[in-house]
Amino acid sequence: MPKPLFVGVFGDEDHILDAVKACRAAGLDFHDVYTPFAVHGLDRAMGLPFSKVTWVTFCCGALGTTIALSGMSYASWWDWPLNVGGKEALPFPAFVPITFELTVLVGGVCTMLGMFALCMLFPGKKAKMLHKGQTDDKFVVALKVNDKFDEKKARAIFEQFHVEEVAHRDTDYDANDEQAAKAGGAA
């Protein structure tokens, strides 16, 4: 079920940052904001909570530590005690480099996978774009059209910060798809 959106297209990162701050102050809800590059301070301006991906990193890093220590202990001490260079059977110092490496590897790879999961990205996902310029030189604010939404207010804020294009869209709209673009309607 597509949800209605109210979209403003901007040409400058400073304008979009100010517009986002003003929209948040006016109590409008964001669907999302699309920019061709990371705009510093945008997440804070939108009022987004801190990313949960740090927890994925921490837990998966700890998992890597556990895998390394238990795996090596099992193989070289529990299952079949090995004598390597006359060291004790459970040589902790020798385990440290591999523990470190696996912590970093599992933590790092899972950070990437966790980011994909949190962003709902997966192979074969079809990219939908509200505006063709949003990966090039345009900055797009998409507001939710819900009971808090006030079109007059939103339009006034957008125009105050030099909006280039204003449109009603929905979440199924894709600027790359001509038919869907027609169904979604223009401004």
């Binding site: 510093h40 301070g41 740090t54 260079g85 006359g86 110092p93």
Partner: protein
Amino acid sequence: MTDAHASTAAPATEPVTAQAAFSAPPLLKIVGIGMFVVGVILFLLSFAVSREVAFSGWLIGSWYSLGFALFASWLLAINALASGGWAATIKRVPEAMTRYFPVAILPFAVLAVGMYASELYDWAHPHEGGGAHAELIHKKEPWLNPTFWLARMLVYFAIWNGFTWVMVKLSRKQDVDGDVKHSWNIRKIAAPFCVFFGLSVTFASIDYIKSIEPTWFSTMFGVYQFAGIVQSGFAMLILLLLALRNSGHLKGTVNENHFHTLGIWLISTSVFWAYIWFCQFLLIWYSNMPEETQHYFVRWNGPWFWFSFILNPLLNFAIPFIILLPRPHKRNLKILAGVSLVVLVGRFVDLWQFVTPRPVLQNELPTATLTPWQTIISVGPVIALIGLFIVVVMWALERAPISATKDPFFEEGVHHHL
């Protein structure tokens, strides 16, 4: 340094009114003087244990406090080279920290007395009767002899003091005319200084500390000491900045974003220290060769184990790493201050467990038979020279405005945001 930054500096012709000079909080000076007095009393008392313990403590203290000045010179140089704009608002503090170099000659002079008057440096005294150990020492005499040792130290101090003196002087000139060319000149000096710094810190750490075990081999010693120096340096810088902020200075220019950056530095240098500390141990433990293991043998077997292999990584790595991992903790000034104190204690433990126990080959030395707690009084000189360091930093801070407002990066530093 782009043109956009250059344009924020005032043109050289514009008349400039001098900023009000900074007056250091009296409490900090009193704390510094008090620490110095208490520490010197502890140092004098430690002669009752033995002369070697007393001068071991002085060696720890003088290298410990010299590390702050070394750290500050390194921080200034890398920030000048990497356009570290965030540090422009705090750079007066590292600049003041480098003014400890000329003063550090005095603690070094006491150490030089200790070199002649005690058995601290094994190589400084003739070995009667020969033996394998004496022969090994004798072969190192062209490098390890008192005259050359003193001469090398003077060269190191001349390099450190000369470079930092010019960098600070150029920064003071920029206070007057606001000319960007001073920043370029500081950068031109910083580049060769980094090369001299790397070499001189490696050689100085070997001359200062490692030469108390002249028959021990470690190829990681220079970088190991460098790691400890930058780690404890960031802890000290954080504490100095917090003390200045709590007494009402640096209000509009240093905020939690700057402390966050310093917290990132503190956790990453802690990890770096642990990496290097463990690397040095692991390779020696694995290859198990007598000329390398002699150092670790006395620390692995016996009461020093708890200090060398438990307390040391706990204070210098585990506690800072786990506590500073979450983002909000790096922005919480109380947590940051607590972790910095832990790191400073850890730096003492690191040097203490290195300097005090002697390897089995030198078993005839008095300190070889002492338990760790019998030498805890070694902390005296550390307290004394941190006190002296704080007084010197406060004195140096009063020579200039506390904010380098004419620095081309100053605006960027004020708006630093993480």
